[in-house]
């Protein structure tokens, strides 16, 4: 069952990824991306990272995609189709990506990964919560705080860009 689910999601991810980067309708591409993200979230579920899956769904699928869609609507017409990619450019890009993929996959497969650990994983909210705020080993309080600065700075940045300047 899990196998089947995995392959379904994996297939979804790959297919929709490809569609995302090839679809000539930009809005559709955004929707395909949404599917990819959802499928990824499903994979997280399968791997028992429920919290992460939830975050993925809310933040990514819910937040980012909406943001993207809004911006798409802001900058182009829904019906607008993108020009097809020039063949040369596509070919070169494909060659580079394919080479990269081949290289990476080959290297990955030739690496002797350790035995799969049989240990159960504890992804309870309690653990996640305490580690997120922990400041000893295995605590993530520092990145958590820092990322808040990042968010704040990002927000300010967006504001000063988005604001109309005074005349």
């Amino acid at each position: 069952m899990e196998q089947v689910l995995f392959y379904i999601f994996a297939g979804m991810i790959l297919v929709f990824s490809v569609l995302t980067v090839t679809s000539r309708r930009i809005l559709r591409a955004a929707v395909y991306l949404l599917f990819v993200l959802v499928a990824a979230a499903a994979l997280f579920f399968l791997m028992q990272f429920e919290f992460l899956a939830a975050v993925q769904l809310t933040l990514y699928a819910g937040g980012i995609i909406v943001l993207i869609i809004f911006s798409v609507m802001l900058t182009s017409h829904v019906s607008e189709k993108l020009e097809p990619v020039k063949f040369g450019k596509a070919a070169f890009a494909f060659a580079a990506s394919a080479a990269g993929a081949a290289l990476t996959v080959y290297t990955l497969l030739s690496y002797p990964f350790p035995e799969v650990s049989a240990a159960e994983i504890d992804t309870s909210m309690k653990r996640i919560g305490s580690e997120l705020l922990g400041y000893q080993a295995n605590g993530y309080a520092l990145p958590f705080e820092v990322i808040s600065i990042l968010l704040l700075a990002g927000m300010l940045g967006v504001i000063i860009i988005a604001k109309r300047s005074e005349k």
């Binding site: 290289l103 990476t104 290297t107 990955l108 030739s110 690496y111 002797p112 990964f113 350790p114 400041y135 000893q136 080993a137 295995n138 605590g139 993530y140 309080a141 520092l142 990145p143 820092v146 990322i147 600065i149 990042l150 704040l152 700075a153 990002g154 300010l156 940045g157 967006v158 504001i159 000063i160 860009i161 604001k163 300047s165 005074e166 005349k167």
Partner: protein, 475 residues
């Protein structure tokens, strides 16, 4: 967690406090008086910078996510000084663009947040902090780059920066994920322990390297540099070219020396190749530039190539020379940018041709510019000479003579284009030179600090000796 432990993180904490204070002060002032923020920000940050020099403990916090040692603190102080100079130099620009900014506080906050990012980056003890530090250093800055809304180039630069930064951080992250997968930890110390030089790990290492190389603008990851530098407001450009580059170089050295020290053969060879490329291509492009910001961008790329010379050594002296170089580079590059900024603010001119006859109208600025350029070119008696010389000594001690020959050939080429600017200012005559510019106090102070740094640092042997005593090599 005690207060003492917190004090280890003093630099970052102070900066954040300063940033918040600045925003609060701005909120307390009405729109008409928002210039008042500027002196406040400068003063507060001066205090922060000075405080950075006070004696401080070193150690590890957050289970190893955060660590400091003397050289890290040294580097942080250098970055603080750099940002302080940038604050001084940006005052005029901020005043001029009063309309663009609803709030100066945002500018300062973003700048300081980014600086915090750098400092966390160079203090990072694991890849998570490394990653967040990098992003914190970059993403808000992209907003600043794109800030001059009146200029199309500003927006273009912003787009180029953030998208290519995103790609590069994607590549880095991929590398980090593989490192994590192969070593079981995101902590530097753990990775160092289990790094076995398998193909996958090397691939991962190089992916991570690509991300840092992007920040340092090493060829072939440099292409964004010139466009972004040109498009961004001058103060932001100087920030990018000095602070962010410095921090990235530092963390690169740290990673190579402390984490990947088991495979020096690999990264030394890679660095050798990219160093040659970086110097050469940076110089070849710099020759043909007209826009000074673009010109300085390429020159800074070439400078990065020289820095690699020190890194390749893998020795304590190499590291020390790199840090010393960066320290001096802060002053020289900011000196040059300070002049460019002042002139750009006053006259909007940024091309080399516009500088014709500058010495007749603005002798002092021309002198500062000349000294800065000489320092960048490595001409005695200004500090840059010492910096470059030490890098070369370090490389020579490891026997990289061929690389040195390439490097010195590049130094000569670089001298050519630096002299072109000097020529424009001092030799060329112009019917319409840039009029005499009355600089405000901040600009003057900024240039004075740079000049003092350029002139004085080289002569103090103790400074280098101190840096050397706190550096380390691969062993």
């Amino acid at each position: 967690m005690t207060l003492d432990q917190f004090l280890i993180m003093r630099h970052e904490l102070l900066i954040i406090i300063a940033a918040v204070l600045i925003v609060i002060v701005e909120l307390m002032n009405s729109d008409e008086h928002k210039e008042r923020v500027i002196p406040f920000a400068v003063m507060v940050f001066l205090a922060v910078t000075v405080a950075g020099f006070l004696p401080i403990d070193t150690g590890i916090l957050f289970g190893g996510m955060y660590r400091t040692d003397e050289i890290t603190i040294m580097m942080k102080n250098a970055l603080n000084i750099g940002v302080f100079i940038i604050f001084l130099q940006s005052a005029a620009w901020l005043k001029k663009h009063k309309g663009t900014f609803r709030s100066y506080g945002a500018f300062y906050f973003i700048m300081l947040a980014s600086l915090t990012g750098m400092q966390y980056l160079i203090s990072s003890g694991d890849f998570l902090m490394f990653f967040i530090g990098t992003e914190l250093a970059t993403i808000p800055i992209a907003a600043l780059v794109a800030m001059e809304k009146a200029r199309e180039r500003s927006g273009e630069a912003g787009v180029k920066l953030i998208l290519s930064a995103a790609l590069s951080s994607g590549i880095t992250l991929f590398g980090i994920s593989l490192l994590y997968g192969s070593s079981g930890s995101i902590f530097f110390s753990d990775i160092a322990r289990s790094f076995a030089a398998d193909d996958l790990q090397i691939l991962a290492l190089l992916f991570v390297f690509a991300g840092i190389a992007f920040k340092i603008s090493i060829v072939p990851f440099h292409l964004w540099t010139a466009d972004v530098y040109e498009g961004a407001p001058v103060s932001v450009t100087s920030y990018l070219s000095v602070i962010s580059k410095g921090a990235a170089v530092f963390i690169l050295v740290f990673l190579l020396y402390k984490v990947f020290y088991t495979v020096p053969g690999i990264w030394m060879n890679v660095l050798y190749a990219v160093s040659v490329l970086t110097m050469t291509i940076g110089n070849l492009f710099a020759i043909r530039q007209q826009n000074l910001k673009r010109f300085l961008a390429f020159s800074s790329i070439a400078q990065a190539g020289f820095v690699l010379l020190g890194i390749i050594c893998g020795t304590q002296l190499g590291f020390a020379s790199v840090v010393y170089f960066l320290l001096i580079y802060v002053f020289s590059q900011l000196g040059a940018f300070g002049v460019v900024a002042a002139i750009s603010n006053a006259s909007g001119k940024e091309n080399i041709d516009d500088y014709n006859g500058l010495y007749r109208t603005n002798p002092k600025m021309s002198l500062v510019m000349m000294l800065s350029l000489f320092s960048l070119a490595g001409i005695p008696p200004v500090a840059g000479f010492f910096a470059k010389f030490f890098l070369f000594i370090a490389a020579a001690r490891e026997g990289y003579y061929i690389l040195l020959l390439i490097a010195v050939a590049n130094v000569t080429v670089s001298l050519y284009y630096y002299l072109l600017v000097v020529k424009a200012m001092f030799i060329n005559e112009s019917d319409d030179p840039i009029a005499k510019i009355e600089n405000d106090f901040y600009t003057k102070a900024g240039l004075a600090v740079c000049t003092a740094g350029i002139l004085a640092i080289g002569f103090f042997g103790t400074l280098f000796d101190y840096i050397n005593s706190i550096s380390y090599g691969v062993k």
